[in-house]
């Protein structure tokens, strides 16, 4: 156990009150320069890993986004195909040749209500 050398510091400066313990303790574990270097290196590695994890996660989102984009294009194409099919089914020629149209007859006379 070691103790710091006590230097005189006025109570006013310390803001300590009377009868309070004025002894300060210091950890017995001492870190040398190698340990410091290792710790800094570890911190850098951890930060680097966090960065890589985040960057990879962002790229993962890119793939997800690309997949969704492809789905959107595919659905857009399907929609477009259906619209074309719908337009073909309601085209004049199709309507004219339909069974309903074939059953229709020309009106014998047309009457108008006087305005």
């Amino acid at each position: 156990m070691s103790q710091n050398t006590n230097y005189y510091v006025s109570r006013r400066q310390q803001n300590w009150s009377r009868n309070q313990n004025t002894t300060r303790f210091q950890s017995a574990v001492k870190l040398g320069p190698v340990a410091h270097t290792v710790l800094v290196a570890l911190m850098i590695i951890v930060l680097g890993l966090i960065y890589v994890t985040q960057a990879t996660r962002t790229t993962g989102y890119d793939y997800e986004a690309q997949k969704i984009d492809n789905q959107i294009s595919s659905y857009a194409e399907q929609k477009s195909e259906l619209e074309v099919e719908s337009a073909r089914l309601t085209a004049l020629e199709t309507v004219k040749n339909s069974n309903v149209a074939k059953e229709m007859t020309t009106p014998a006379s047309t009457q108008y209500v006087n305005e």
Partner: protein
């Protein structure tokens, strides 16, 4: 013992070498990373950054179905299938590929398929075109090696050939040709977007880097035309019937609203399928004759001469002149095509029987009474060219419109003989759309509307946004009283043909038979038959103007025999379709 590097020791030499190598490395890295920075960044970007065009979707074209827009031209994504013959042959899947393509692609498979497969020295061979998405999906399911797909957008025409020449077509480069596609190409094309992004090996865009650019494409404008698909269909059918009836080769028709200038139908036969424009053998069918083929309009123009004379106060329908079937202008003698109505007759009779002498007389009365003076010629030019807009482009929104020509009286050729011919429709060139638009101004009270084929647009939400109501570009082309008299006169002229119109309506018209100029002279064995008329519930409400022309190679066709039945067929149908109530 404390180790020291002594001068000349091996350790010191080694340290010097290491330092020298490190210095070289530093300089080399400085050169590569600082001095050559831009060069290597460019190389890296070329490898990693994908620059792509985001194609804008071409605007769709609509017709009207009554007042509701219906799609006339649409877009569809189809696929071009291509192979890497080297890979295909390496994979030993040629037989499977052949079978799959025959089963799925069918008619889309190119006849050069076998040659393409055997072209092992090539890495790119197209084997099928215009394959639909469903077909492409089926081929993709087989996971055949060396087979790739390229998506291509193409125009689709749900109504087939309807209004083909008014629409035009889009060529393989995506450029509009002829018709509306040609005229409105820039608006329909839109603006392509841009994508610039870092991609992985599979070309998937990544959000790495700060230089990514994505500018979305701006799609083309969706245009709604004034063409009513039902009227257009009826007009095309009536033309086909007319050609068959008269054994003719070609015919054209324009149906327009005289009170707005809106073209309701515009058709020409023969026509073509715009989705197979590349199969057309004779490029002439791409032309829309109603706007791009000026011709001598013939007797239809007599309504113009009559309107000019009435408007200038030199004649009216009941005024008379002495018809001898011949009239002399300078050194030329002009005769009537129909002879026998000689003696003192009214100008109404001259119009009804289409007697040339009556209209040459009117031209003379615009001068000093006996000659077609410069004053008469100036007046006719002012009315024909400046007021009725013959001999100049109408400005209709269609590509390849022709101006036609009217010789000015200030020109050496603008003499009395020419203007005597012009009084009955020869010696000038005009298009059908010009004649119909000018006639619309005569019968609507004197307001000239620029003919238009655009009714509005459809926005991105699919909502129809109609254009504002058209305004006349010239008012007072003729006086209202002149307009009334011309309507009466043409109604009387048409009334000579009994039983052709539905009873209770007010229909008027004028026949035309023009000689064809062949090798610089009028041919005796070939004519263009025309009919120009209007219809409505009563004299004050003309609802439509129809102009018909029909022609056959080496055939003499007549306005009343060959063109008028086409007019009547469309007119009688139109009265019902437009729900016009009879008042007569």
């Amino acid at each position: 013992m404390k180790p020291e590097l002594r001068k000349g020791s091996r350790s010191r030499i080694l340290a010097g070498i290491v330092l020298a190598i490190a210095t070289i490395f530093v300089f080399r890295l400085f050169y590569l990373q600082v001095i050559q920075h831009d060069h290597y960044v460019a190389l890296a970007q070329a490898e990693q950054v994908k620059r792509d065009r985001l194609p804008a979707s071409r605007g769709e074209i609509y017709a009207l179905n009554g007042s509701t827009p219906v799609k006339l031209v649409m877009n569809e994504t189809v696929y071009t299938v291509f192979i890497d013959p080297f890979v295909v042959n390496q994979s030993k899947e040629v037989d499977e590929l052949r079978q799959v393509m025959k089963d799925v692609a069918g008619g889309n498979l190119l006849s050069t398929f076998e040659d393409s497969v055997n072209a092992t020295d090539s890495r790119y061979q197209v084997i099928a075109k215009r394959v639909t998405r469903t077909q492409a999906e089926k081929i993709k399911e087989k996971h055949l090696k060396g087979v790739r797909f390229l998506a291509v957008s193409q125009r689709v025409y749900p109504e087939g050939q309807l209004a083909a020449q008014a629409l035009g077509f889009v060529n393989a480069d995506g450029v509009g040709n002829y018709g509306l596609e040609g005229y409105m190409n820039d608006e329909l094309s839109g603006v392509d977007g841009k994508l610039e992004t870092v991609t992985d090996v599979s070309d998937v865009p990544l959000t790495i880097g700060s230089g990514n650019i994505r500018i979305p494409a701006k799609d083309g404008k969706n245009i709604v035309t004034t063409i009513d698909r039902n009227i257009q269909s009826k007009a095309e059918q009536a033309l086909a019937d007319g050609i068959k009836r008269s054994n003719a080769t070609d015919a054209s028709v324009v149906v327009m609203d005289p009170n707005t200038g809106k073209v309701m139908a515009m058709a020409n036969l023969p026509t073509y399928d715009p989705s197979k424009y590349y199969e057309v053998k004779d490029g002439a069918v791409f032309n829309n004759a109603t706007i791009s083929a000026p011709y001598e309009p013939g007797s239809d123009v007599k309504t113009y001469t009559m309107a000019t004379a009435i408007d200038k106060g030199v004649a009216k329908a009941t005024d008379t002149y002495n018809n001898t079937d011949y009239i002399k202008v300078d050194d030329r003698t002009i005769s009537n095509a129909t002879k026998g109505h000689t003696g003192v007759i009214s100008f109404q009779t001259a119009l009804t029987w289409s007697l040339n002498t009556g209209f040459v007389t009117l031209a003379q009365r615009l001068g000093n009474g006996t000659e077609i003076t410069k004053t008469a010629r100036d007046t006719m030019y002012q009315y024909f060219h400046d007021r009725f807009k013959l001999g100049q482009k109408t400005g209709i929104e269609l590509a390849n419109e022709a101006a036609g020509i009217i010789i000015s009286p200030d020109d050496a050729d603008g003499n009395a003989v020419r203007y005597s011919n012009m009084s009955f429709g020869q010696g000038l060139d005009a298009t059908i759309i010009q004649v119909a638009s000018g006639f619309s101004a005569i019968i609507n009270g004197g307001n000239y509307y620029k003919p238009t084929i655009i009714a509005g647009s459809v926005n991105d939400d699919g909502v129809y946004m109609p254009n504002e109501a058209p305004q006349p570009i010239e008012t007072g082309a003729v006086q209202a009283s002149t307009s009334q008299q011309i309507k009466e006169m043409t109604h009387v002229a048409r009334s000579g043909f009994a039983g052709i119109d539905k009873p209770g309506y007010y229909i008027g018209g004028k026949t035309g038979t023009s000689q064809v100029i062949r090798n610089g002279v009028y041919a005796d064995d070939e004519t263009i038959a025309t009919y120009l008329g209007y219809g409505g519930s009563d004299i004050d409400h003309p609802e439509y103007v129809i102009m018909v022309s029909i022609h056959g190679d080496h055939k003499v066709l007549g306005g009343s025999v060959d063109a008028m039945p086409i007019f009547s067929e469309i007119s009688n149908w139109l009265l019902d379709y437009l729900k016009i109530q009879p008042k007569g």
